[in-house]
């Protein structure tokens, strides 16, 4: 892809913020508000409070102080040369959101929304969570600010991420396992919306990603854009130039929007989102919404989603609970359709290969979500060659994933990590990531049961 495909008017690119969404939350044909009328007043209030807050110097200072003193921002940029040896000679820089307090980029957004909750005078927050990272971050912010907190989590995910359930409860949050539908993130979101519509007078919904009805995609982007704002300046300072490509994993897409936004006006910088392809897009068992989905309406916005002929949401599949979502943020749909960003699938097997590779070569255990972006870097680096400079958003750390990794690689009681098949450094990727992924996935299928 070349940047000549970009359709964005020049003057928009020079604006401090992208010119989208419009005043009613539309990114081209995507976004908007597809929610019951009962929630419109609350969304309007939230929009007004957010617009007032973002230009209020006192809020901006309070938010900045929290990010500095509580989260530990700015997060560093780390070059990973031993990992990059597997990336066709390209140089790879990691934006270290894994080093944030609570272990991922999710804290950036929840601190902003928790401050907003206090400002609009509500004492209770609710949140949905998949992997548990957004739930943990929300529970953390609620504890910090003295808010009562309820987190909805699919029953299936409470099993996959038991550690994070305990963590949220330690922080004083109530965790409600959701037993409806597919019992995963999408159903947790439905249940959180039902709570919100019932308790909207006292309760604010702290939404975890750049999806949902307006103003969530805008608001979450603005709270997450610090990732890219920092990274762009850090890369310029150390390299004297911009990266050739910026890579991030995409579930709902908040870490990706967070790092992409600052680079959107930089036409020479490729923006690459890596979607979870599960067992492979062609198997139907995946969560690659843009690659394998179609436009529709889910969870309050028009966007790409995985759906059947009747418009029913199709269950997604990914080894990564944080990417296991059949929708995606409307801004990603827009960036895809106008050609400003590209979205590629990464299978479970490829992601786990990259997971082990970064652990072994750099001493950094990434979240499995972030490992999808790392796998994308391996492939793109080999495509671009030795002069390429890649910036990867390491959106979270992998402590929560050790058990999953242990099962995947069959580590048992061995003390040394055997990275498993596919880790041969001489191996070159086959043309289709899906193909090579399947080969590995097949060999590991037994260990997944």
């Amino acid at each position: 892809m070349t940047t000549s495909a970009v359709h964005l008017p020049e003057q928009r690119l020079e604006s401090a913020h992208p010119a989208w969404p419009d005043a009613t939350g539309h990114f081209g044909v995507f976004g908007g508000r597809f929610v019951p009328e009962a929630l419109i007043a609350a969304l309007d209030d939230l929009t007004a409070a957010f617009e007032a807050m973002r230009v209020d110097p006192a809020f901006v200072e309070e938010f900045a102080a929290l990010q500095r003193d509580y989260t530990g921002r700015p997060s560093p940029v780390t070059e990973v040369p031993r990992f990059a040896e597997h990336c066709g000679g390209a140089r790879v820089l990691l934006k270290r959101e894994d080093l944030n307090h609570t272990g991922s980029h999710k804290i950036n957004n929840v601190l902003g929304q928790a401050l907003l909750t206090r400002r609009i005078g509500k004492q209770r927050v609710i949140a949905e969570t998949g992997a548990g990272q957004h739930g943990v971050a929300t529970a953390t912010a609620a504890a910090l600010m003295g808010l009562s907190c309820t987190v909805y989590m699919g029953e299936e995910d409470t099993r996959r991420q038991a550690l994070n359930v305990a963590r949220m409860r330690l922080l004083g949050a109530e965790v409600i396992p959701v037993t409806t539908g597919s019992r995963t993130l999408k159903d947790a979101i439905n249940e959180a919306f039902r709570d919100w519509v019932t308790n909207v007078e006292t309760t604010n919904y702290v939404f975890g990603t750049v999806a949902g009805p307006h103003p969530f995609p805008l608001m979450v982007r603005e709270f997450q854009r610090v990732i890219g704002d920092e990274a762009r300046a850090q890369v310029l300072e150390r390299e004297g130039r911009l990266p050739d490509a910026v890579l991030a994993c995409v579930g709902g897409g908040s870490n990706a929007i967070g790092i992409f936004t600052a680079f959107v006006p930089d036409e020479g910088v490729r923006l690459v989102g890596l979607e979870a392809a599960g067992d492979g897009v062609e198997t139907g068992r995946h969560a690659a919404t843009i690659t394998g989905g179609s436009p529709g309406v889910l969870h309050g916005a028009r966007s790409y989603l995985l759906q059947d002929d009747n418009g029913q949401t199709v269950e997604s599949h990914s080894i990564s609970a944080g990417l296991d979502y059949p929708g995606v943020g409307p801004e990603h749909s827009y960036l895809h359709d106008v050609g400003r960003a590209e979205y590629r699938p990464v299978t479970d097997a490829e992601a786990m290969e990259a997971f082990a590779l970064l652990s072994r070569t750099e001493g950094i255990i990434p979240a499995i979500e972030s490992a999808h972006a790392l796998a994308g870097a391996v492939r793109l680096g080999r495509e671009l060659g030795p002069d390429a400079l890649l910036l990867v958003n390491l959106s979270g750390r992998g402590d929560k994933d050790v058990e999953t990794a242990s099962r995947w690689f069959g580590l048992g009681d061995r003390t040394e990590v055997d990275p498993g098949p596919g880790m041969d450094t001489d191996q070159r990727p086959t043309e289709g990531a899906v193909t090579s992924g399947d080969a590995v996935a097949g060999r590991h299928a037994g260990s997944q049961a």
Binding site: P36, A38, L39, I40, G181, R194, G311, Q312
Partner: protein
């Protein structure tokens, strides 16, 4: 003209509120759901809200979720819905489709409007579509001569009440309480206040839904609304195995309720 407004007007001429029964297509099966809808009409429902199964019914409580989940898993689609529309029309009630937006968008908005009109449907109620986002549906329903019902809520501002009722044709759906569908012990004052606020900005019929489950509640709502919408209580009859007989009996009880008052409040 509006088939819904005509039917509600006819009820009003009898000095009563209209009874609107909701049942989803495909629970427990397509055939059984159609039999239940027919029974609801036989028991006295004036209008049947024919529910389109949807995988993510964000406005529905546990009772309707449970029923709709069965239909979604069975792959029930718009073709089955249109069959139910024909059956309800044949039974003598006014059929109106109740659907979250994505199944309609997926089917094709224009195609949906054309096929619904051809099946004898009066129009559609769209709980997660606000008029602000409804451009294609406004155009398609105009072209096909269909009613379109949007919701108002206790939290709606006066400006939104005006805009939303302006876009409605057939009736205005007043969601009586802040919350999801389900039976409640009391309907509450919020419903009456909302209806009064709605009537201040429109002359269109106002029907009240969310929470009504028995004849007494129907009678109470009928004192201030043009129509009483009952959903979860009907679905519960099927979930608890009482079948079309239970549905018919519930309809009869509710039909008695909406007739209990002697004067129309407006």
């Amino acid at each position: 003209m509006s088939a819904l407004e005509d039917r509600i007007g006819a009820a009003r001429a009898e000095g009563r509120a209209a009874l609107v029964a909701y049942l989803p297509v495909g629970h427990p099966t397509v055939e059984d759901s159609i039999a239940a809808m027919t029974a609801a009409v036989e028991g006295g429902a004036d209008v049947v809200e024919i529910g389109v199964p949807y995988s993510d019914p964000g406005m529905d409580g546990p009772v309707i979720q449970q029923a709709v989940d069965v239909a979604v898993r069975a792959g029930v689609g718009m073709r089955d819905v249109l069959r139910a529309v024909e059956a309800v029309a044949a039974a003598g009630a006014v059929p109106v489709v109740m659907s979250y937006w994505n199944p309609i968008e997926r089917y094709g908005v224009d195609r949906f409007a054309t096929d619904l009109a051809a099946a004898g449907g009066a129009g559609a109620i769209t709980p997660d579509l606000i008029p602000d986002e409804a451009g294609p549906w406004l155009a398609a329903s105009d072209a096909a001569g269909l009613d379109r019902v949007f919701l108002v809520a206790p939290s709606s501002t006066d400006a939104r009440l005006r805009a939303t009722t302006e876009a409605c044709r057939g009736f205005v759906y007043a969601a009586s309480t802040m919350g999801v569908t389900g039976t409640r012990a009391t309907v509450g004052d919020a419903a009456e206040r909302l209806v009064a606020r709605t009537r201040a900005v429109t002359d269109k019929p106002v029907c009240v839904g969310l929470g009504v489950s028995d004849g007494d509640q129907a009678a109470e709502v009928a004192t201030f609304a043009d129509g009483v919408i009952v959903g979860s209580a009907y679905v519960r009859e099927l979930l608890e195995g009482r079948g079309p007989e239970g549905v018919r009996a519930l309809s009869a009880q509710l039909a008695e309720g909406v007739r209990r008052r002697s004067t129309v409040s407006r």
